[in-house]
């Protein structure tokens, strides 16, 4: 373990901007991407559910 | 004024509908600037020297590439006829189309130029001047280009003829635009170049829509 303090860890020996810039960008994008993918999935699901509901309503109308 | 805004909105909507279109003008700019180092070789000193020229030529070509579409789609499908017959003055609609063209093809280049400048290792103050020059220059390119687009409308061989007509007219913008950066690098100050660009922009903003409208009426005859 080469870090003596938390501050030293974050300073990264003077390369903080570059190291945290790299790791930060990776973390940010790699967290964002699955959320975007999931939202896409849930959007489709929602619209499918809406369609189902509309179908059912139409059916009810026909029956009554 | 309403019709003006409606035209801008319409053209933006059409462009967004072709999602890729907005981004691809930008990517063309990026790719063309990247082509030059590949053709010329990777020496940093040399590249730094020719960077402003390359960025300006690339911006000019990227604007040029979007020009044929400015009126041609509306011409082919008859919308332009409808515009000429519309109760709103044609000049207003044309001005709207030009503004939309700049928002789609010009503004993104201005925003992107600093990033590309970094690739050529330009420093911060040079990047500032470059961006400012492009901010003044790209609307000028759109305005002048619109005249050319209208003149070559429906003419056989349009796209290339357009380039031929418009590029010579772009030369002053290129000289003062790229010159501003070089003057700055040489420690001469870019003020003179920039104010000339601004003056040309004012002039073109006044006359170009008018000339474009006249050219369109001829094309419709």
């Amino acid at each position: 373990m080469q870090w003596n303090s938390v501050g030293e860890f974050f300073a990264m020996g003077g390369y903080a901007l570059y190291v945290w810039g790299s790791f930060g960008a990776c973390a940010l994008l790699m967290i964002a991407e699955p959320f975007l993918a999931r939202r896409r999935l849930s959007d489709v699901r929602k619209s499918l559910a809406r369609e189902r509901l509309a179908d059912e309503l139409e059916l009810q109308q026909k029956n009554s | 004024m309403n019709a003006f805004l409606a035209t801008v909105r319409r053209d933006l909507l059409l462009a967004l509908r072709r999602k890729s279109e907005v981004l691809t003008a930008v990517f063309f700019f990026v790719i063309v600037t990247s082509l030059f180092p590949l053709g010329i070789g990777p020496e940093p000193v040399l590249l730094k020297k020719i960077a402003p020229g390359i960025l300006w030529v690339a911006a000019l070509l990227a604007t040029l590439l979007g020009l044929p579409r400015l009126f041609s789609a509306d011409h082919v499908d008859g919308t332009l006829e409808q515009m000429a017959l519309s109760p709103s003055p044609l000049g207003l609609l044309v001005a709207g189309k030009i503004l939309a063209h700049w928002l789609l093809c010009g503004l993104p280049l201005v925003l992107l130029a600093p990033v590309l400048g970094l690739q050529f290792d330009l420093d911060a103050s040079t990047l500032g001047i470059l961006t400012l020059a492009l901010l003044l220059g790209t609307p000028l390119l759109s305005l002048i280009g619109a005249i050319g687009a209208a003149l070559t409308l429906g003419v056989r061989g349009g796209g290339v003829l357009l380039a031929l007509l418009v590029l010579p007219l772009y030369i002053p913008a290129l000289i003062f635009g790229a010159g501003a950066v070089e003057a700055h690098s040489a420690g001469l100050g870019a003020g003179g170049h920039l104010s000339l660009l601004a003056a040309m922009l004012a002039l073109a903003g006044f006359f170009a829509p008018w000339a474009t409208t006249a050219a369109l009426r001829v094309a419709l005859e």
């Binding site: 373990m1 080469q2 870090w3 860890f9 990264m12 020996g13 003077g14 390369y15 901007l17 570059y18 190291v19 810039g21 790299s22 790791f23 960008a25 990776c26 994008l29 790699m30 991407e33 699955p34 993918a37 999931r38 896409r40 999935l41 959007d43 489709v44 699901r45 619209s47 499918l48 559910a49 369609e51 189902r52 | 072709r18 999602k19 890729s20 981004l23 691809t24 990517f27 790719i31 990247s34 180092p37 590949l38 070789g41 990777p42 020496e43 940093p44 590249l47 970094l118 690739q119 290792d121």
Partner: protein, 246 residues
């Protein structure tokens, strides 16, 4: 033989693939997280400070996996695309479409982390080095693929056009790679040479390996998530989708 292969791909219909993908995703996420934590631990707490580059070299632990993945994903994408074109299986086109954004993301990360590494090491964000340049071109190839697919709204047509482009690209990638390499090395040596990181310590190798595995698992997990969405979008009017989504 050929018949049985075709049979197999018929079996891999969207209908059977959708739940299968759903069951696999958590496992890949788990693997990605475990490998990721291990890799990060090594990269920050086990790997020693580099003698020449100080702490700056730690960027390697994301840079190299991202670079590798960006190249590898293109191959996989082209494989699926070619399969779709040859055997006309529906899932293949969807897989190719699902992989492209992740590949582009990896290429972008490689460029970004590389630029952030270059500034302290070479004093420039960007130099026109062979490897950098070919990575940039790879990024453009991804964007072209995505732009082409986005521009065509009939999914069947989009798949086929995308497949042709991906295959043309895959033929070109080695050509591009070597041309850029020679372009650079045939030149007088005015460019800064990309020094290989000095004799990598065993621990660094392990760190990179773990991170690469994490990126790999991550890519598979995200691509599967996206492909599920794409399956539903494209098959929304089939009976099974109506039943699958309660």
């Amino acid at each position: 033989m050929r018949q049985s292969i075709i049979q197999w791909f018929r079996f891999a219909s969207p209908q059977s693939f959708y739940p299968l993908a759903g069951r696999m995703i958590p496992w890949f996420w788990a693997a990605a997280i475990i490998f990721g934590i291990g890799g990060l631990w090594i990269s920050f707490f086990v790997a020693p400070t580099d003698a020449q580059q100080g702490e700056g070299y730690r960027i390697i632990f994301v840079h190299v996996p991202a670079s590798w993945m960006s190249m590898f994903i293109y191959l996989v994408m082209a494989f699926w695309a070619g399969l779709g074109l040859a055997l006309n299986t529906r899932v293949s086109g969807m897989m190719a479409q699902a992989l492209a954004p992740t590949g582009a993301l990896m290429a972008a990360l490689s460029l970004w982390t590389g630029a952030l590494w270059g500034k302290p090491m070479w004093g420039a964000w960007w130099v026109w080095d062979a490897r950098l340049t070919s990575e940039l071109i790879l990024f453009f190839l991804y964007l072209g693929f995505m732009a082409l697919q986005a521009a065509i709204d009939d999914p069947r047509r989009a798949d086929k056009a995308g497949a042709i482009l991906a295959l043309v690209g895959v033929v070109n990638i080695p050509i591009i790679y070597f041309s850029v390499k020679w372009w650079n090395t045939l030149h007088q040596g005015s460019t800064i040479n990309l020094n290989k990181a000095p004799s990598m310590a065993q621990t660094m190798l392990w760190g990179m390996l773990l991170m690469a595995l994490a990126f790999w698992m991550y890519s598979i997990a995200v691509a599967l998530m996206r492909v599920r969405a794409i399956i539903l979008e494209r098959e929304r009017h089939t009976e099974w989708v109506k039943h699958a989504v309660e």
